[in-house]
């Protein structure tokens, strides 16, 4: 903080220096870093106390901190240092905030309310600045002000123009903590962003008028002023759109340079800002529209990781800019040399901006409500008027004024500072209680349901259809047209082919819902586990009809649940079976902390992190255990009735399997289970809930599969499909008919097959695992649509032949399928050692049908060894 200490006196130039004090060289960046650090640390301190931050907005605290720091600096350096420089503000601090708000702007909401937003931004701001300016001038004429305030009408209008604009930074800072409903928020916030054009134009026009002097202003100048408004706003928007287009186009081709994808987003947006600034168009508009428009395409193009990076970097930048802005506002206020206080001017300004804001809002809303479907009511209007915060933009603009031209600059500066502080601190502090008191509709973050998504879309189309029938070209009509245009041309042009397909919102929502359900389900599993197995009762209580559907499903159907994200839960879904088989082979092999990774370093690609992968393994393992215990406790409760019968059955099977087993020589896995006695799981057909009574053996990592018999089972086809998971396919003759007839034989197989019953359409743990594997990767950004990582699933869908196998085929299949499972496992194990591309095994899974018999035969011999190996590793 302290300006350059005694710099390196080159006392002994003769000898070689060991160390050299090079403060001067690093001074500037060092100061910047120091300030950012101070601001960030301050944030940490603020948030240590929840009580304080819940009452006082962060922006207030930061300003107060700035005041304190400014005082210290003043005391130490004897002069005010480190103030908010307009240049720094406009070139470095503002763009990140605007980009962030534009990029994460809910575009649908924004465009739905564009009419209101534009009205408030343009008409409202014009009204505010003219009314405030004129009123202040009137006050001045009335002689109420200090005679030192030398200002004419033009000066006051200039001041009015800069003081009347609602500030995006301040609004965002305060409203983010208030959580009013979305419509209200988007209107106030959208206004604060879009009024930039008006502010810029008014400011420039009046500034030039002041410089010209009132005498030299011609009528043409007024016309020019109006024209420049359109030029500045539309030009700024056009620049933004142009760069958004470029950005989308560029990201389409970044497939091989994933690592710099996020950079493009920031660079182009910043260039858009600078370009607009360069030709004195509205830079804020440019960045806002760049952000709004590019988002859809960019998000679809860049990878999941880049998406996360963009999101976090943007938030970080914006948040630190905001912090610094408020802190520097505080610091700058300390500098008394710029101040000249005039009570009348300050009070008058405060009064007028509040008054005219309220009047403007009420009048405009009155007009707007005649056109709006959902009118803004009184309470909304109060919040809107009260939420018109002024901020750093006004301050930077007032500092930019030329003291030579604007004589009353010092008065204006003082007034602006007071106004900014008043709005941010007083209004910021009181708006939360006000909102609570007025019972403003808060934003309700209810979870999205598929229904809503579906109907929202349908309503859009329906309304567009109605307009079409009527022959009226209204809002819905144009939106419909735009969407078609977007789909036909823009998306084709700007999105990757692969991304394009994934962009369907309904599917996205479905996907997200499933992830969420899976997570909440596992949460509950954990909850139950920790709650000393009080288990079941807690479930229904937590699941209201509106809540997580998985748990509902569990409740309704007793036991079976499909948590798989993408799997198709038809009976003969081969993927279930494949997964089941794979799961069992993998089960023993998970959790191998000592696996060796290739040490690789690449600047251009991020290899999956070792630590991360290990964590994942551990996590998965834990999750699985929890689930198992959860499931088993659950079944203890709910199906004691069927237990006896099952046990009997299990015993019978056990016997058979024991004999068989020795013959097979495949003891590696069955043994612990046999000891565990009443294991078993084949579902008798009329039972909805199948059961595994394997509760007492929790430590034995037995997997308890819960199966739900389906219709097909009811038809008596006690599927041999179950057998396909048997790890020793070669021994079992692949004859479905045989299997069909002989129940014990089947049971035996099932036993060998590590107790997967696969009439089970719905296998929880396997699916859970899948869900987790996917959700782990997508947890970071659940909000963003499934991108690349869902690729494989879709590829699976792409080969419906596999899924749509008729029952007979899939009956014939089992042996085969278990055979070709192994190559993929092997490849998986191979991958774990060689770090090959993650797509490998998936690919192989996709083409199991192509697997030849030879391929099928090799694995069984290889597989036991592998298992042993893993087992050893596990131990």
């Amino acid at each position: 903080m302290q300006p350059p200490a005694a710099s390196p006196g080159p006392a002994a130039p003769a000898g070689a220096e060991l160390l050299r004090w090079q403060w001067r060289e690093v001074q500037a960046p060092c100061l910047v870093a120091a300030w950012i650090l101070v601001a960030s640390l301050a944030k940490i301190v603020f948030h240590l106390s929840r009580k304080v931050t819940s009452v006082v907005p962060e922006s207030c605290l930061l300003i107060l901190l700035g005041l304190g720091l400014g005082g210290i600096v003043l005391a130490v350096a004897k002069k005010a240092e480190y103030q908010l420089e307009p240049n720094m503000f406009f070139l470095f601090l503002l763009p990140p905030i605007v980009l962030d708000s534009g990029y994460f702007m809910p575009s649908r909401l924004f465009f739905d309310n564009i009419g209101a937003i534009l009205t408030y931004a343009v008409v409202g701001t014009l009204w505010n600045s003219f009314a405030t300016g004129t009123a202040l001038w009137g006050l001045h004429r009335a002689g109420l002000m200090d005679p030192g305030v030398e200002a004419g009408l033009m000066d006051f209008l200039l001041f009015g123009s800069l003081i009347s604009a609602v500030d995006p930074v301040a609004v965002l800072a305060v409203f983010e903590e208030v959580h009013v409903n979305e419509t209200l928020f988007i209107i106030v916030f959208g206004e604060s962003l879009l009024n930039d054009a008006v502010t810029v134009v008014l400011y420039k026009v009046f500034n030039s008028f002041v410089e010209l002097g009132p005498a030299h202003i011609h009528a043409t100048d007024y016309v020019k002023g109006v024209a420049s408004f359109f030029l500045v706003s539309l030009g700024g928007t056009a620049v933004g759109l142009l760069f958004a287009f470029l950005l989308a186009l560029i990201t389409r081709f970044t497939k091989r340079v994933r690592i710099i994808e996020p950079l493009f987003v920031f660079l182009l947006a910043y260039v858009a800002y600078l370009a607009a600034e360069m030709v004195s168009l509205s830079a804020i508009l440019a960045v806002t529209f760049c952000g709004i428009c590019c988002k859809k395409y960019v998000e679809a193009n860049i990878s999941q990781k880049s998406r996360t990076t963009v999101k976090y970097t943007m938030k970080t930048l914006a948040s630190s800019s905001e912090t610094i802005i408020f802190m520097f506002l505080g610091i700058s206020a300390v500098d008394t040399s710029k101040w000249t206080w005039d009570t009348a001017l300050v009070l008058g300004t405060l009064f007028f901006i509040l008054l005219f804001r309220a009047v403007g809002v009420v009048l405009q809303t009155y007009v707007l409500n005649r056109f709006r479907l959902i009118p803004l009511d009184r309470i909304d209007q109060v919040v809107m008027s009260y939420g018109g915060l002024r901020g750093a933009v006004a301050f930077a603009l007032v500092i930019l004024l030329d003291r030579e031209k604007v004589k009353a600059k010092d008065y204006f500066v003082a007034t602006t500072i007071v106004v900014v502080f008043f709005t941010v601190i007083v209004q910021g502090l009181t708006i939360k209680p006000l909102v609570t008191w007025l019972k403003v509709k808060r934003s309700d973050h209810h979870k999205p349901t598929l229904n809503e998504e579906l109907h929202e879309h349908a309503f859009d189309h329906i309304l567009a259809a109605v307009e079409d029938i009527v022959g009226h070209h209204g809002y819905h009509y144009w939106r419909d047209k735009w969407e078609q245009f977007d789909k036909k041309y823009l998306s084709q042009l700007l999105m990757r082919k692969s991304a394009y397909r994934l962009r369907d919102e309904i599917w996205d929502v479905y996907y997200k819902l499933n992830i969420r359900d899976a997570i909440s389900f596992v949460d509950q599993g954990g909850h139950v586990h920790s709650a000393a197995k009080l288990a079941l009762p807690s479930m229904p209580s937590r699941t209201s009809m509106s809540e997580s559907s998985v748990t509902n499903l569990l409740r309704e159907s007793g036991s079976g649940a499909c948590l798989d994200l993408q799997v198709i839960d038809t009976v003969r879904s081969r993927r279930d079976k494949e997964d089941a088989a794979m799961h069992h082979v993998l089960r023993g092999s998970l959790y191998k902390p000592r696996r060796r990774y290739k040490a690789s370093y690449s600047r251009h690609f991020i290899s999956p992190d070792k630590q991360e992968r290990q964590d994942k393994e551990i996590f998965r393992q834990n999750m699985k255990r929890r689930l198992e215990t959860f499931k088993s406790t659950k079944h203890n409760v709910c199906s004691s009735k069927s237990k006896a019968r099952l046990k009997e059955k299990g015993r019978k099977k056990k016997n058979v399997s024991l004999t068989k087993e020795t013959a097979n020589g495949k003891t590696h896995r069955s043994v612990p289970w046999q000891d565990a006695a009443p294991v078993l799981v084949m579902v008798s057909s009329e039972e909805e809930e199948s059961d595994s009574s394997e509760t007492e053996k929790e430590d034995d990592e037995g997997i308890v599969f819960v199966a739900r018999a389906t219709d097909e089972v009811l038809q008596g086809k006690t599927t041999p499909g179950s057998l396909d998971v048997c790890p020793s396919p070669c021994i079992i003759p692949p004859s479905p008919t045989l299997a069909e007839k002989e129940l014990p034989w089947k049971g035996d197989q099932a036993d060998l097959a590590v107790y997967v019953s696969s009439e089970t359409t719905k296998i929880v743990p396997v699916d859970m695992q899948k869900a987790w594997n996917q959700s782990i990767s997508s947890l970071e950004s659940i909000a963003s649509p499934p991108g690349i990582e869902s690729g494989p699933q879709h590829r699976r869908f792409a080969c419906p032949v596999l899924e749509e196998q008729p029952q007979s085929a899939s009956q014939a299949m089992p042996e085969q399928s278990s055979c070709f499972q192994f190559p993929s496992h092997l490849s998986k194990s191979g991958r774990s050692q060689s770090d090959s591309s993650p797509d490998g095994p998936e690919q192989q899974e996709l083409q199991p049908l192509m697997a030849t018999e030879e391929q099928g035969r090799v694995p069984p011999s290889a597989e036991p060894r592998w298992l042993m190996f893993n087992r050893a590793g596990h131990l």
Partner: protein, 175 residues
């Protein structure tokens, strides 16, 4: 909707002007009735006459739902009915009922899976595979199905809509 021949006499028009007054209060009459009548001048069987390629997936369906005989030919009365349903003054339940009807493609008073599949297909313009569609449909039914009969009755539908607050507020149209 090009052909602008007038097939009404002035008296007929006046009569039709009177008609909505029975449905709406006076304030609402002007903005609603006039364009409707104006549009009606285009022809009685408006929607069906436009056999143009369906760029809007729901167009035909709407015409069918609101037309009296369910054949997609709308009379002026049907037309005005449509607007009364879509006006802000219409009660929630009425809107819900008509929204429900629009979804109920096979007119069996239930939204069943095939209806939903149709809707989803229309919405996504056949981009989803059949499996995906059926998954989505199951989920949708599952979410809203209160009485657990595997299809959505009107009661289910209304229940769902009550739960989502701003839901029908979008089901307005203003001309």
């Amino acid at each position: 909707m090009g052909n602008k021949q007038t097939i009404f006499t002035q008296e007929q028009l006046d009569a039709y002007q009177e008609l909505p007054k029975r449905c709406f209060n006076k304030n609402n009459l002007a903005p609603l009735a006039l364009p409707a009548v104006k549009a009606m001048l285009v022809g009685m069987t408006l929607p069906c006459s436009c056999a143009v390629s369906q760029d809007n997936p729901f167009r035909q369906r709407i015409a069918e739902v609101f037309s009296e005989h369910g054949d997609g030919n709308m009379t002026l009365d049907d037309f005005l009915d449509m607007f009364s349903v879509l006006s802000e003054m219409a009660p929630r339940d009425l809107k819900a009922y008509y929204a429900f009807k629009i979804y109920d493609f096979n007119n069996d008073d239930y939204i069943c899976k095939s209806d939903l599949a149709k809707t989803v297909n229309k919405l996504t313009r056949n981009e989803l595979t059949p499996e995906e569609v059926s998954l989505v449909c199951e989920k949708v039914i599952y979410e809203a199905d209160v009485d657990n009969d595997g299809k959505l009755s009107l009661a289910d539908f209304q229940h769902m809509i009550v739960r989502a607050p701003d839901f029908l507020s979008t089901f307005h149209i203003r001309i």
